[in-house]
Symmetry: C2
Subunit: 256 residues, 2 copies
């Protein structure tokens, strides 16, 4: 009974600053398994505490926001059936428009190569397949890196290490697809198309891994939520650049 | 001191069954703000407890898994830099191949309409734009519904309510895009192409919202993780069906 508080207290305290992000609090609490964490101001005056139940809510909310942004919509902020049709549209329309405007780039690229398309109409048959594969490979890299940054496994200064890893993954995935793709396309569309499609698959998968891992890191560096550089956004960029690669390869192989 | 445990205990206990999913535990704990929850077997014998710190780890882990699957890769299960290049490839190659095989559907669709493409080469200019918009609209619906099911705001028996909402959203988003798209395409590519592209935008956005919201609900109904019916998977289906819609509209308007 005569023991004072100062005799039993811990003096090496982990505290959060009042202006920290709620995600940082969640990370600290998860790391140290705290029940509660004190919140202090810039001169270490205690302003309040955050408890484990608040943190569980924050973790849920942050996951919901990241998922929404990865799918190119704004988080709804309330239960699905409580959101009006108008607000559902609001959460999606801006990104859908921005991505559609960005996608007009693909119209420009194809217009530029329209003469090549006129000469070899069968080139157009593989456009959705190639940009689809590129989009998927880009989305795979992007989601991996976005999540790795959210859990602080990767930070912007790791950029070169990440790019080196992802580019190797892209080359190898592209080569595997190219091998199977070459046999299939050669069989049904001839040797020239087989070579064009398989070379394009390698180039586009490499490009997609590069763009997909680079964009979230750049976003984080500039203080933008990396999840906003969502899979669809990466896809749109890979679509346009992938088409250019495809036509460059096609012109080289057909000699036109 | 003479008070027995039975006098102070709570008898109305929320407990988890030993064979419950870890996601259910996380949901119960988040809902009731418990510090710990007992785990019992089928005859209510206590086997252990789960504490709040385990739940915080589960919440993080489940969010990581859902995000990975939405991006068409398997969860890594460990820190990014600890995963070898070979295992990164393993986490992606199966989905990338499956999606590429599914995407060969688009090659079939375009082959079927190759004669139309030969007659009107400029139809191919809008293929990436249209399937891009369809993919984005589908991903928006899919991510919204996947998350709403993960947080138990939506369950499979809500299917008709969800579809009715999402289809209205799709029609309205498609109409907004069609209005802007019509002016742009009319100006640069003529009235016929303007009508074809804008009508297709409405049809494809509606179709995408339908597929994007339907697929996760069907997956949940059959006990498959809805996140696996990922945005890229929805995209691939919307790509192929969207192209069919586009060519049906084009043939009707050009009368070929």
């Amino acid at each position: 009974p005569e023991t004072l508080v100062q005799d039993i207290m811990t003096t090496d305290v982990v505290a959060m600053r009042v202006d920290d992000d709620q995600e940082d609090v969640a990370r600290q609490m998860t790391k140290y398994d705290f029940l509660a964490i004190p919140v202090v101001d810039e001169v270490n005056r205690m302003l309040g505490i955050i408890t484990y139940d608040d943190v569980m809510d924050v973790l849920q909310q942050e996951a919901t926001e990241d998922l929404a942004r990865m799918g190119a919509s704004e988080p709804l902020g309330q239960r699905y059936f409580n959101v009006s049709i108008l607000n559902l549209i609001r959460s999606r329309v801006v990104w859908l428009f921005l991505l559609a405007v960005a996608a007009t780039l693909t119209v420009n690229v194809l217009s530029y190569y329209e003469e090549v398309l006129e000469q070899v109409v069968s080139l157009s048959l593989f456009i959705p397949l190639l940009i689809g594969v590129g989009g998927n490979a880009g989305a795979q890299s992007a989601t991996t890196i976005v999540r790795a940054m959210a859990t602080e496994e990767v930070c912007p200064r790791d950029i070169l290490r990440v790019l080196f890893r992802e580019v190797r993954v892209g080359i190898l995935l592209g080569s595997a697809l190219a091998f199977v793709g070459f046999l299939f396309v050669w069989l049904f569309f001839g040797l020239d198309m087989g070579m064009i499609v398989s070379t394009s698959l390698i180039a586009i998968c490499t490009l997609a891994s590069l763009v997909g891992s680079l964009m979230p890191i750049i976003a984080e560096h500039f203080g933008v939520d990396p999840a906003v550089i969502s899979a669809p956004f990466v896809t749109t960029i890979v679509d346009a650049t992938g088409l250019i690669v495809y036509f460059i390869i096609a012109r080289a192989i057909f000699g036109i």
